[in-house]
């Protein structure tokens, strides 16, 4: 099947993120979100009242409160009324919704933001509540445990081993040394097993953070950004929730989403992969057929900063920012959600050819 061709050119024209930190006790969600919203608007010169559509991603289970996103809405100026939506998911899916809105022609600009404040609770326990409530959730398997089952399956299949996983951790955190927003920049020991075969170094940091992007269509994008990151395609796919039904060493949903996004038509030079665990990068690079010619996670990836609900949007933002500054011409961005890469979103971003 040929990939879908968007009916309208839409680009990421600005990206901002917070410094990702272990705790932000002194800030409410809206206080944490606001500076990032102001920064992304400043980059384009837009005011909140100029934005055609606003979409956000966050989770009540992280906040421990119902409808927690309504509090953060104060930060975008929701009065007089704006066109707004929210996904109880990573902000990458909010970006998808905004992209679709722009493709319909009902808006020319969109503000997408996402935030996760993991510090008030235990994110390993919180994430266990997204599991099937009949067969899985009563056993409280935590996010590291499920990733470790996947990692062992990869080791058994001969796709990786502990030294290879340690090398992924080392490369990610070395790259993160150049990322001023990273929570874990620079080399650190692999540490003890958290859940064997995954060690501390194979796992993402727990922390709080925010990301925001602005999308714009056609000429509006060219007005707002010197080198827009055009979204050439985007798709998201899901697999069965039952882990025992899936082949955990593969990610057919990622591969299908990438195919439908047009990722395989021409090589990409950069891939921002949302792999919170080192072992998941192994699954994704295999599923996407990425080789040594592709720069993987130059930002340090989710191993350097993993604000739950924003980490996927950060991948899209980092890939776009690399195009904005001319470090990439064609980049793949990936976001995931659910246990063991259950849901996957892939976008292909391109910059205009350079003279």
């Amino acid at each position: 099947m040929t990939p879908h061709r968007p009916a309208r050119d839409v680009a990421i024209v600005a990206f901002a993120q917070s410094d990702h930190r272990r705790r932000t006790d002194e800030l409410s969600e809206v206080e944490m979100v606001m500076p990032v919203l102001h920064e992304v608007l400043r980059q384009t010169g837009l005011k909140t009242s100029d934005i055609g559509f606003t979409c956000s991603g966050s989770s009540d289970y992280l906040a421990g409160r119902a409808f927690s996103f309504t509090m953060a809405l104060d930060g975008v100026g929701a009065w007089p009324p704006i066109s707004e939506s929210h996904v109880e998911a990573d902000g990458a899916w909010a970006l998808y919704e905004a992209w679709v809105k722009l493709l319909t022609g009902e808006a020319d600009t969109a503000l997408v933001y996402a935030y996760g404040k993991s510090s008030p609770g235990s994110v390993r326990d919180v994430l266990s509540r997204q599991l099937d409530p009949y067969y899985l959730a009563p056993l409280w398997p935590d996010s590291v445990a499920l990733a470790a089952l996947q990692a062992q399956a990869l080791v058994d299949a001969g796709h990786t081993d502990e030294p290879a996983l340690a090398a992924i951790a080392g490369r990610s955190r070395a790259d993160a040394a150049a990322n001023p927003h990273a929570q874990l920049p620079g080399a650190r020991p692999q540490g003890e097993y958290v859940v064997q075969p995954l060690r501390t170094g194979d796992c993402p940091p727990v922390g709080d953070g925010v990301a925001a992007v602005i999308l714009a269509a056609g000429d509006r994008a060219r007005e707002l950004c010197a080198r827009p990151a055009w979204i050439r395609g985007m798709d998201h796919r899901i697999e069965a929730h039952s882990l025992g039904v899936r082949d955990l060493t593969d990610s057919p949903s990622t591969r299908l989403a990438a195919e439908r996004a047009g990722a395989f038509e021409r090589p990409v030079d950069t891939a921002e992969l949302h792999a919170p665990f080192t072992s998941q990068e192994v699954v994704l690079t295999r599923a996407l057929g990425l080789d040594d010619s592709v720069r993987i996670n130059p930002s340090g990836g989710a191993l350097a900063a993993n604000p739950v609900m924003a980490a996927g949007l950060v991948r899209l933002g980092e890939a776009a920012a690399r195009i904005h500054r001319g470090a990439s011409d064609r980049a793949l961005a990936h976001a995931t959600s659910g246990p063991c890469l259950q849901q996957n979103l892939v976008a292909v971003l391109e910059g205009d050819p350079r003279a």
Binding site: D25, E26, L27, S28, E29, V30, E31, M32, M34, L37, H38, T48, Y61, G64, M71, L73, D74, G75, V76, G77, A78, W79, P80, P120, G121, S122, R124, D125, V126, R129, P133, Y134, Y135, L136, A137, P138, L139, W140, P141, D142, A145, L146, A148, L149, Q150, A151, Q152, A153, D156, Y193, V195, Q196, P197, L198, A240, S242, L243, G244, V245, L248
Partner: protein, 322 residues
Amino acid sequence: MTPTPASPPEILRAPLVVEFPFTRSLGPVQSAFLTGLRERTVLGVRTEAGDVLVPPVEYDPATAAELRELVEVGATGTVTTWAWNPEPRTGQPLATPFAWVLVRLDGADTALLHALDAPGPEAVRTGLRVRIRWAAERSGAITDIACFEPYESDAPAAEPQLHDGRFTDPVTGIVAPARLDYTYSPGRAQTRYLHALSERRTVGERCPSCAKVYVPPRGACPTCGIATTDQVEVGPRGTVTTYCIVNIKAKNLAIEVPYVYAHIALDGAGLALHGRIAGIPYDQVRMGLRVEPVWSEDGRYPDHYRPTGEPDAEYDTYKEML
């Protein structure tokens, strides 16, 4: 009131517990499976392609076809992948270090997630033969399987047998309790608000752009989308802008019904906050009524508002805050 610049507050923290006992109904397949566990019988479901799914689902994950053909599979099986858990967490099946395992039960084509009781990681491997250890007390839940345990046997694996899925007194629902513990911090603006309340003062924060005073403040002006800065003391008196009469008693609430819940525009505030009105018969509360706070016994927040005895406020003075 003279505005004072907002000072950096001492961070407040409090435990926040979220508990939710979800009551879930079961469809025909899940009902048979969980009832079966209560009776030490493991059921799977056969797909059109002939695969046996354990745990069973009602719709084929590949084709979405409805699945109803139940089969009984073995209580022994093979580990397909595992992970050693050195520090069990609250709610997990075993309190001592254990392995998480995916187990393909004999006769099944898919694997079930559970815990394996083993002395250490060196005793676990993919391909290990295991069997179910049943919980002593079973109610029709996945936890009726206490865990798995290593089990080497030369007995040939049984073929799956058709099962009608019928049991006496079938389980038709489960209650899935959950508890999550948080340490809540309210942020700068709400911290300042709470500190002031403890001094029996109500403070809002002014938007530097539109000059409205928000109370309780959340740190941002919802109109301008920018940080509110100056703290402004408002009230203590205010005006009822609108109200409702509550006739249904909430669980664990000592207040007698009917009572009045109102929006109250404190003097100097740019929007109304919520509060209960007392000290006046419920059917005499009205828009424009002037009220003042009555502080709780420990003096940390207004328990309710009561009439001041002043003449009612003119509609024009509060119509913008309705």
